[in-house]
Amino acid sequence: MTLAIDVQRLTRRFGAFVAVDAISVQVKTGEVFGFLGANGAGKTTAIKMLIGLLEPTEGSAQVAGYDVRTQSEEVRRRIGYMSQRFSLYDDLTVRENIQLYGGIYGLTDDEISTRGAELVGGLHLDGAHDALVGTLPLGWKQKLAFSVALLHRPLVVFLDEPTGGVDPVTRRQFWEMIYAAAARGTTVFVTTHYMDEAEYCDRLSIMVDGRIAAMGTPAELKAEFGAPTIDEVFVRLARPAAMAGGV
């Protein structure tokens, strides 16, 4: 299997502070990879380096076969990204948002209309095609944002806490969408705070203070730490760090 993401000793410093400390991660194509960590552990900083929003200080990273330092435009063409903050345009309609992102990624008019129709149908948003996105409920917005991030059929999609603030039913639907994307061959790199979601991942890593403290399948991690749940694994790893930090 080829690697969708290959990170070697990637480091990011802000002055004296080391936000990401020489992490190494390999994600295989079609995998759903959970990137866990407490708040401030360095997850978002790491993702920002992988999607070309932040310059790495040291180390290397290849995403979709291209170097994020020297070939960031090639990387951008092949990835999708959904940030913590909802990032579609509230003052544009569902259709207009789809057209905009389709156009940006160079889809033809036909592709935009067929994929757009599929997308809207898949989300059961048919009646809301011409509604302003700002008027949709949060759960629908999140699902729409995810679908739009997949519109150009990226090889890798990065999801930074995609299910923050949505209800359990929507979260479940969201994960069904993630599996569907992975089944089509898209690699999913997802961060989350919900440990039940972590159990759904093929593999995951847990980041503590800028380092990767553990990595493996959920079953492997639970066996390694002798814990019944990922939640338990997470707490055991994260607690010493929190206590050392005086929290």
């Binding site: 929003l53 990204y81 903050r85 905009l100 940006i104």
Partner: protein, 383 residues
């Protein structure tokens, strides 16, 4: 290029959906032009006058009457005591003191010359200068009518000086005629300037705010993850705002013409051409601001701090000629000044392309410079 088309469409959709923005874009030029053009004037009317008439003759009373009849001065107090006049000026009850010494009438009748002393509060130097010039003109004309000449020594700031004896023998009648704005209509002079100031604020602030709003909303980050290139992104931001500002220019010119009868002696096309180039500078500055700030509040603050300097160094409210040499150098590099001068020259004087070529060149150079700096500052990836 395909991406540009979609991005442009998005920007126009957003602009035309923002009803508040549109209302402001049409209302601000109307209100500002109507209010400011009437208020912003260098003219001085109804200066309060303290009369110290020590001659108390028909001629001295005639001189005072002339001053008052002009409408420029209002006689608010009179006394024979200089001390009383001084006190009045110190308490800011009067702006000018006119002292007519004893022997004024005798001097005119016998020697055809006499002396009048004017004392002005020069705290506001330009207003004092204007009052002084009016008073001098009115009194000289009066003296000429009587067949004499008059020497009004000017003493600024309430200090005293001995009245200098008149030196002029003959009577010199200087007649001035303002060319190009023959009626010295201040509105015709102010409207183009105010319009450009308005255009600068709208252009710079809208650009800065528009981009920073996307920064705050997180949509800018989303766009930075896409393959959209820097030039395409910037073009998609600037082109719609540029057309909007051009529309405001057209509205402003129309209001100037309808409400104030501001003439268009030169080519309308040249006015728009100048505006088009100038707007690149204004929008470029907005773009630059958006790259150095994080929130709309900061954008607003930086924009206004910058525009204030810009505005005061533009010659709109204070003539560039009266600035110190270093400030004149700065003002000469100020594109806003060049645009205001271009507008005034083309509209009031009928200047052609060759006459304003220098202004166009300075603006074009600043435009290229500002845009280059701003584009280099804008990064998809932060270091």
């Amino acid at each position: 290029m395909r991406a540009l088309r979609f991005l442009l469409r998005k920007e126009y959709l957003q602009i035309f959906r923002d009803k508040t923005l549109l209302r402001m874009l049409f209302l601000i030029p109307v209100v500002q032009l109507l209010v400011l053009s009437n208020a912003a004037t260098f003219e001085v009317r109804q200066s309060r006058l303290f009369v110290v008439d020590r001659d108390r003759s028909t001629m001295s009373r005639g001189a005072i009457d002339r001053l008052v009849a002009s409408g420029r001065f209002e006689r608010t107090a009179a006394s024979v005591s200089i001390a009383a006049a001084d006190a009045a000026m110190r308490e800011r009850r009067v702006e000018m003191i006119v002292v007519i010494p004893e022997g004024f009438e005798r001097g005119i009748v016998r020697d055809h010359r006499a002396t009048v002393q004017l004392l002005l509060n020069a705290e506001d130097g330009s207003a004092a200068g204007v009052s002084q010039a009016y008073a001098r003109q009115i009194l000289s004309r009066y003296a000429a009518d009587l067949g004499g000449s008059l020497t009004p020594p000017i003493v600024p700031g309430g200090a005293h000086a001995e009245a200098a004896p008149g030196r002029a023998r003959g009577v010199l009648d200087v007649r001035t005629r303002g060319l190009f704005n023959a009626e010295l209509n201040y509105k015709h002079y102010m409207v183009p300037g105010i319009l450009i100031q308005l255009l600068t604020i709208i252009g710079t602030l809208l650009t800065a705010m528009n981009i920073v709003r996307e920064k705050e909303a997180g949509t800018l980050e989303q766009l930075n993850v896409t393959p959209v290139s820097r030039p395409v992104f910037i073009a998609a931001k600037l082109i719609p705002l540029w057309t909007l500002a051009m529309l405001v220019l057209a509205i402003g010119l129309f209001i100037g013409w309808i409400a104030f009868g501001v003439p268009m002696r030169g080519s309308l096309l040249l006015v728009f051409f100048g505006g088009a180039i100038y707007l690149v500078v204004a929008l470029g500055i907005g773009l630059w601001i958006s790259t150095v700030v994080e929130t709309q509040q900061q954008a607003m603050f930086v924009t206004f701090a910058l525009l204030m300097i810009y505005l005061l160094m533009s010659g709109l409210f204070t003539p560039v000629n009266s600035m110190p040499p270093w400030a004149q150098v700065v003002a000469d590099a100020n594109p806003m000044r060049h645009e205001i001068e271009l507008m005034r020259a083309v509209m009031l004087k009928g200047a052609g392309l060759a006459d304003v070529a220098r202004h166009l060149v300075v603006m074009a150079v600043s435009g290229v410079l500002v845009l280059t700096i701003a584009v280099r500052q804008y990064h998809k990836r932060s270091a």
